[in-house]
């Protein structure tokens, strides 16, 4: 019998005062998620041109997401640690399948048609990769030895490579980041960090010349000088910064944003939705959303810190940092700090798989949070 299994049965003598614990619900986290989702639906209604169709669909997906989250939370952390490799394997196989049977649009092949629904394996990998890495490192010496680092590199880079081929650079980088976050939190030695950093610097030219496609290069170039091509690639950046800037402190009012309502803003209900929020609710709205995100992330960090197992810590920390990265990258690209990569704003942007994957991650966080407290005994 494993030590953890033994410990789990020993409930704390005082009993569990948190009523959610038996249901494996972390109440503060749940409340904040509901708040963010509601805010998302409100903004989406306006961003979609007051189209209830999108709002209803998004709400339905959120309900499915909450269901997935509760479902995932019911399984013990140990279960997820043990079966991580299976999730990772399924993800990897479906990524390969995408390369051969995938469907997609605009020159990118990202979806698998399952008959009843369409499924984006790269989204699944955003959770599967950190889980796999966490599970792998959870059983190993900390800080990881060179061989382990190589193994983690392989676990991470293989799916990243497949996603790059789709091509979906944004998601690939996020998967890479999620894997990196785990090994970073696991205490990757400084010399590895430094060499990884140097490697990245060295890889940039290679990347530019051999990996990136023309439209991806264009996005980077556009970021540097959007005015060069006002009606082409620069249009998005110019219109989104205009939308954000013209919102001012207090915004133009809900559904009254001229940039978004008159279709100047591209992708207003998906990747660029923060611009709608910024235009209609102003900086106040942006700060309010950031506050909400900060509270949510704070709670996640608490969960990570309070986790009983190394796996739990690492996966919770990694998922939290990945979540933070989403927010950071999205808000940066829409405001013109980073090139436009297809990263949605979590819980606000319209989009199916992304929402469900997010909830999958939060389900695992809830599982960790509601893990029965082990009596801290140093044997």
């Amino acid at each position: 019998m494993h030590r953890d299994d033994f410990v789990r049965r020993m409930q704390s003598p005082g009993g569990d005062k948190q009523s959610g614990r038996s249901l494996h619900i972390d109440l503060p986290l749940l409340v904040m998620l509901i708040l963010v989702c509601c805010a998302g639906l409100v903004v989406l209604y306006s961003a979609s041109g007051q189209n209830m169709f999108y709002v209803k669909r998004q709400a339905l997906l959120m309900l499915v997401g909450f269901g997935v989250m509760f479902g995932v939370a019911q399984f013990p952390v140990r279960f997820w640690e043990r079966w991580s490799f299976l999730l990772y394997g399924v993800g990897l196989i479906s990524l390969l399948a995408v390369l051969f049977f995938g469907v997609g649009a605009k020159g990118a092949q990202r979806w698998l048609d399952l008959g009843f629904t369409r499924f984006q394996p790269s989204e699944l990998m955003k959770v599967a990769v950190p889980m796999m890495v966490s599970a792998y490192l959870g059983k190993r010496y900390i800080p990881p030895a060179f061989g382990h680092v190589l193994m983690v590199l392989a676990i991470t880079v293989i799916p990243v490579f497949l996603v790059v081929r789709q091509p979906d650079l944004g998601t690939a980088l996020l998967i890479l980041a999620s894997g990196f976050f785990v090994i970073f939190l696991a205490g990757l030695r400084k010399r590895y960090l430094l060499s990884a950093f140097l490697l990245v610097i060295a890889a940039i030219p290679t990347f530019w010349l051999f990996v990136m496609r023309d439209y991806q290069k264009q996005r980077v170039l556009t970021l540097l000088s959007p005015e060069d091509d006002k009606l082409g690639a620069g249009w998005n950046i110019i219109q989104s910064t205009t939308a954000i800037g013209s919102g001012g402190w207090s915004g133009k009012g809900w559904t009254l944003g001229t940039q978004s309502q008159l279709n100047f803003l591209p992708e207003s209900h998906t990747d660029f939705i923060i611009a709608v929020l910024a235009e209609e609710f102003g900086l106040m709205g942006v700060l309010a959303l950031c506050t909400l995100y900060t509270l949510l992330i704070s709670r996640c960090i608490m969960i990570a810190l309070n986790s009983q197992s190394q796996f739990g810590r690492m996966i919770a920390g990694s998922l939290t940092l990945t979540f933070l990265t989403y927010v950071f990258v999205n808000m940066s690209m829409v405001s013109g700090i980073l090139p436009v990569v297809g990263v949605p704003l979590p819980f606000i942007s319209y989009g199916g798989t992304a929402i469900v994957t997010l909830f999958l991650g939060f389900g695992i966080l809830m599982a960790i949070s509601t893990e029965p407290k082990r009596i801290r005994t140093t044997l």
Partner: protein, 622 residues
Amino acid sequence: MIDDAAFSDPARERKIFVSRLLIAIFLAFVLGLVVIARYVDLQLTRYQDFATHADNNRMHVRPAPPSRGLIYDRNGELLADNRPTYILTIVRERSDNLSELLGTIGSLIEISDNDIKRFEKRLTRRKPYEQTPLKYDLTEQERGILAVNGYLLDGAEVSARLMRFYPDGELFGHAIGYVGRINERESQTIDGIKYSGTDSIGKIGLEKFYESQLLGEVGTEHVETNARGRVMRILDNRDPVPGSNLTLYLDSRLQRVAHKAFEGERGALVAIDVKTGGILAMVSAPGYDPNLFVSGISQKNYDSLLNSPDRPLFDRTIRGQYPPGSTIKPLFGLIGLHSKTISMDYVIDDPGYFIMEGIERPWRDHNSKRGGHGKGVDLAEAIIESCDVFFYKMSIKTGIDLLSRYSEQFGLGQITGIDMPGERSGIMPSRVWKKGARGQSWFNGDTINTSIGQGFMLATPLQLAVMTARIASRGDTVVPKLVKSINGIEVTRDEIAEPMNISEEHWDYIHKAMSDVVHSTRGTAKGISRGLSYKIAGKTGTAQVISINAEEEYDSSKIDKSQWDHALFVAFAPAEDPQIAIGLIVENGEHGSSAAAPIARMVMDMYMKSKAGSHQSSGGAN
């Protein structure tokens, strides 16, 4: 593989994890601050820039063109109206693929090659984001088709516009003129702001002369458009100020009569209100339909008008310069009397020709049978019977200098100052004129030719009417004008009235002689006196088109009609209290008495009739 966890140190693991997490949180905090700083920069520091940019994005100022002033005749009949028409316009900037758009439109409604050609021409000289017309006068059906397929037609828009319409067509064509599309030359001289949204301009006639009053003031419309350029709503507008309405002295009843009388003829008539100088009728025949020009005349129509031998586009009333012929005689007689170079008792003997010393070639009397008017012809008889020889002799006595100087006071040889563009001055020959124009000295022979309104002398029908009006008014400086009031406010013009100081005796004499032209049995225009309930004073005239040798007889049957003499007539009525004065010419009409005088009678009849009708009193009829 060995399970490392069995040997792991949970406390150390946790410690490392916490320190790493703190590093990550610190980095995230820094990056978060960068993002927040970016939003603060965009939304607070640069708010004004972006707010302006967003407004520029959505808001476009569209000019709201004013409606052009209307033109009425003196009785309030509408002569120039504005009618709503629908036009299809394209904003070049809003269309992703212009040729594709044109193709799509062409597949929906009929677009002629000509439409495309002109559209492309307009495209080259439009302002950015300006609506460029593609097709005018859309039918209801075409509008329907375009509306249904609107989603295919980004960049195209159907808009209603007021277009000039002349209800009477040809009737007032020359007087009122027409508006047409602003051409390249005009677009360089006009004030672009005043004309934004307006694509037509007065080209000729009153429409041109009163362009600034008729135009009105452009308004503005702030519209909100979406990214595709569709107008979503009108945010704010400043209404345009419509152009001023013109009320003319013209009387459409007289105009109709005159116009009808000229049917099939070439010629011109001008009728003036003697008291005011107001133009009562103004006809140049043949005319043209000004409506053809409003939305751009087709090359074919234009060519046929331009190349017609009857020259319908030529406004004979103010631009046609003809020898006045014998119509000048009353004036020259008056000048003779006034300058005392002849007296009322002065008589001549007329053998039918005149020989001047030193010149072999005799001057024939065109208006008498061989043998002349006989002995003892005085000025009155010379006017009544139109005796040339009397004027040959009298002009030598008076001299060209006096004739020329006084004639100018009656409006000859200079523009009359009518409120129409393009007026010609005619020629009142003088020594100075001949020296300047021909580089030659003046000869007595020139004076003799001038004395019967031939030779160098030329006058427009308008000048003849003005001259007659000044004679009729006993020397008032009658200045012709078409516009009576602008927006109900009477137009006043400073009239430089130089008193002529011609004695009443002389006026009476000339008026009596002119009256006898119509009313005496020997008068050249006695034909029109039948059944006349009022008195007309007039003078017939004939102007040679080709010169005939003195020995030859003019015989119309031997020459082409285009070379027949022009028939002229000047008249005023009622003779004892002149109100209307007329100058008219019928090209190649041969004789003033038969071709021209009856037209004057018809117009005057209508004038007297309408006068009696409008006053409900005894009026002019007795």
